[in-house]
C-alpha cells in the first residue's frame, strides 16, 4: 500500500510539476525512488512536523499540490492546529499522508499506534478523510485526493496488505464499495483491516451466518446513503476499524443512525475500546489483544445475533 502510494504519486509528479512531496524525515527505502527521479519536487522538512505542515500550506497557497508524509501520529496529531488553521481554514491543497494507521508499528509502542487520528481529522471542517483497504484502493485514493482541491488526509497501512476482492473498480471519494453481498448481517469497515473482516465473514459462514461486507474507504464525507440503505436492510450492522470506537467509522455511523426517523439496524462498534494500547506486538497480535481480530469480530456479531 505504501509503495503503491509512492509509485502513484510518481506518476502524478511526472504529469504535474506542481506536485510536491515533503517528508518529515521519514520514508527510508520507501521514498527513495521519488527523490531520485523528482529531486525538484521533493523536500525533507526535517523532524519538525508543525513547521512542515504550515510550510506545506504556504506552498499550496502559491499553487502547489503538496503531499506531507510521515508515520503514525506525527503528520496529524503533532501538527493538528497547523492543519486546522493553515491548511483546512485556508482550503489549502495539502494532502496529509500517514503511513502506519492503527497498529502497523505495533512493536514500537503506543507513541506509534495511530488510534485516534481518524476521529480527530474527521472533526475538522474542510478535510476529506480517506483510509483505503489495500494497494489498489490506495492507488485510486491517491489519484482521487490529488484531483480534489483542498485539504485531505490519507491514512495508509504499511505494505503487504492482501488484495481484497474486487476493490479495483470505480473509486469515488464519498462512496462506499460493496465487497460481498449477504443476507443476515452487514460488516462495514474502513482502512486496512479488511483481511480480518473477510476472515470473519468466513468464520460466520461456518456458523450459517451470511454476512455482507462493505468497504468505506472514505470516512469523510461518509456515504450516508449507503449507511441509510444498509440500516434499513439489516437488523444488525457492525463497524470495524483499527482505531478507537469513538469518532471514527463507528462513531460516524452512530451519528447517522441516531438521526434516522425510526430506529433501524442495531450497531455493533468494533475497534479499540477508548483506551491506549499499552502492550506491544505485531499488528496481528494487537488486533487480537484489542478485540478486532477475525475471531473477535465473529464473536461480537454472533453475540449480537443471539442477544
Amino acid at each position: 500500500m505504501r509503495d503503491r502510494f509512492v509509485s502513484t504519486l510518481m506518476g502524478l509528479a511526472a504529469k504535474d510539476s506542481n506536485v510536491h512531496l515533503i517528508t518529515g524525515d521519514l520514508g527510508f527505502g520507501v521514498l527513495k525512488p521519488f527523490w531520485e527521479q523528482f529531486p525538484k519536487q521533493f523536500t525533507n522538512a526535517g523532524i519538525a512536523e508543525q513547521n512542515m505542515t504550515s510550510f506545506a500550506a504556504g506552498m499550496a497557497l502559491e499553487g502547489k499540490t503538496v503531499f506531507t508524509y510521515s508515520i503514525g501520529n506525527f503528520p496529524t496529531l503533532r501538527a493538528i492546529e497547523q492543519i486546522r488553521n493553515d491548511c483546512a481554514y485556508h482550503e489549502a491543497n495539502v494532502k496529509i499522508v500517514c503511513v502506519g494507521g492503527g497498529f502497523v508499528y505495533g512493536a514500537l509502542g503506543m507513541s506509534h499506534h495511530a488510534t485516534e487520528d481518524l476521529a480527530i481529522m474527521r472533526a475538522l471542517p474542510n478535510v476529506t478523510v480517506v483510509a483505503p483497504a489495500d494497494a489498489d484502493q490506495a492507488q485510486l485514493a491517491t489519484e482521487a485526493i490529488y484531483a480534489q482541491p483542498g485539504t485531505c488526509y490519507l491514512r495508509l497501512g504499511r505494505g503487504g496488505e492482501p488484495k481484497l476482492h474486487d476493490l479495483s473498480g470505480d473509486f469515488q471519494i464519498g462512496k462506499a464499495v460493496p465487497v460481498f453481498e449477504g443476507a443476515d448481517i452487514a460488516l462495514l469497515f474502513t482502512g486496512a483491516i479488511g483481511d480480518e473482516v473477510l476472515e470473519a465473514r468466513t468464520l460466520l459462514a461456518d456458523q450459517g451466518i451470511d454476512a455482507a461486507v462493505i468497504s468505506f474507504p472514505t470516512l469523510k464525507p461518509l456515504d450516508i446513503d449507503a449507511v441509510v440503505e444498509l440500516a434499513a436492510r439489516f437488523d444488525i450492522m457492525a463497524s470495524v476499524e483499527e482505531h478507537s470506537v469513538l469518532g471514527g467509522l463507528g462513531g460516524a455511523i452512530a451519528e447517522i443512525l441516531a438521526e434516522l426517523p425510526r430506529p433501524q439496524a442495531r450497531l455493533v462498534r468494533i475497534g479499540l475500546n477508548d483506551q491506549y494500547s499499552s502492550i506491544v506486538g505485531t499488528q496481528k497480535y494487537l488486533r487480537g489483544e484489542y478485540g478486532m481480530s477475525a475471531r473477535a469480530i465473529a464473536e461480537r456479531v454472533g453475540e449480537a445475533l443471539d442477544g
Partner: protein, 265 residues
C-alpha cells in the same frame, strides 16, 4: 478602531504600526486594484492580534473603504480581532494562534524560489511569539534552504502577555540566536521609518533569509500606554482616556497628513 470596538491589543498595534506603515507605504509591492496579482510581495502578520494595524494599512492603501474599519470586532464583521483573510482583500493569511506565520511564509518563499519568481515574502512576528518552538523550526528550515526572498520582521517591544519577555522566558541574546541560526540579522529602531526602509531595501538580494529585529515600544505614541502591559488588554475608554490618546497621536502627525475617517466621530 480599538475604542469603537472595545478591542484588546492597542499596545501591540501601536508597537507594530510603524513597521506595517513602512511596508505598505512602499517597501512591499502590492496592488489594491488586483489584490491577488501574482507578482505582489506577500505580507503575513504572524502576531495576528495586531490585525487592526493591517486592516488600517490596507484601507489606507485603498484595498477597501476606510469607513469599514469601524466594524472591527462588530457582529457579522469580516474584520475579526485577529487578522482574517476571509473576504478581506489584501490579507494573505488568517492568524491568531502564534507561531504559524513564519512557517507559512517560509513555504511561500520556498515555492517562489522553486518557480524563480521575484517577489518577496514578509512575516511580522512578535518577540513573545518566539517562545513558540515552531518559530525556531521555521528558522532552521528557512536557513537550510537559503530563502533569501524571506524577510522576518520582529516587533521587539520586549513585553508579552503577562510581563517583560526577559522575565517570562528569556530571549536574549536574541540577535545572536538569529545569527547562529544562519540568518542575515539586522537590528533597527522600529519606529524610525528611514531606518526601517533602509533595512528592508538593503536586504533585497540576500542569499540568506533576513530577520529585522525592530526595537519598538509597546503602546508607542500614547504616553500612558507606553511600556504598560495593561494596554495589551484594555481599550481606550470614552472620555479623557480616548481624547488624550487621540490628542497625543494627533500632535505627532506629520505636517500635511490628514485624519482618516474612522476616528473622526
Amino acid at each position: 478602531m480599538t475604542h469603537l470596538s472595545q478591542g484588546s491589543h492597542i499596545g501591540s498595534i501601536l508597537s507594530v504600526a510603524d513597521i506595517v506603515a513602512v511596508l505598505y507605504a512602499g517597501i512591499a509591492h502590492v496592488n489594491p486594484d488586483d489584490p491577488q496579482w501574482d507578482g505582489r510581495d506577500r505580507i503575513i502578520l504572524s502576531k495576528g492580534h495586531a490585525g487592526a494595524a493591517i486592516y488600517a494599512a490596507l484601507a489606507e492603501r485603498g484595498f477597501f473603504d476606510v469607513a469599514e474599519l469601524a466594524t472591527h470586532y462588530a457582529d457579522g464583521s469580516r474584520l475579526s480581532g485577529h487578522v482574517s483573510h476571509k473576504g478581506v482583500p489584501g490579507v494573505e493569511l488568517s492568524t491568531g494562534s502564534l507561531g504559524h506565520g513564519l512557517s507559512v511564509a517560509s513555504g511561500m518563499a520556498y515555492a517562489a524560489k522553486l518557480d524563480e519568481k521575484q517577489h518577496r515574502v514578509f512575516a511580522i512576528l512578535g518577540d513573545g511569539e518566539c517562545d513558540e518552538g515552531s518559530v525556531w523550526e521555521a528558522a532552521l528550515v528557512a536557513s537550510h534552504y537559503s530563502l533569501g526572498n524571506l524577510v522576518a520582521i520582529i516587533d521587539h517591544n520586549r513585553m508579552q502577555s503577562l510581563d517583560y519577555c526577559e522575565s517570562t522566558i528569556a530571549l536574549n541574546p536574541f540577535a545572536d540566536k538569529r545569527r547562529a541560526f544562519g540568518w542575515n540579522t539586522i537590528e533597527v529602531d522600529g519606529h524610525d521609518h528611514g531606518a526601517l526602509q533602509k533595512a528592508l531595501e538593503g536586504c533585497h538580494g540576500s542569499e540568506k533569509p533576513t530577520v529585522v529585529i525592530a526595537e519598538t515600544i509597546k503602546g508607542k505614541g500614547v504616553s500612558f500606554m507606553e511600556q504598560n502591559i495593561l494596554w495589551h488588554y484594555r481599550f481606550p475608554h470614552e472620555g479623557e482616556e480616548y481624547d488624550n490618546a487621540v490628542a497625543e497621536l494627533d500632535a505627532q502627525r506629520p505636517a500635511g497628513v490628514g485624519r482618516s475617517g474612522v476616528y473622526t466621530r
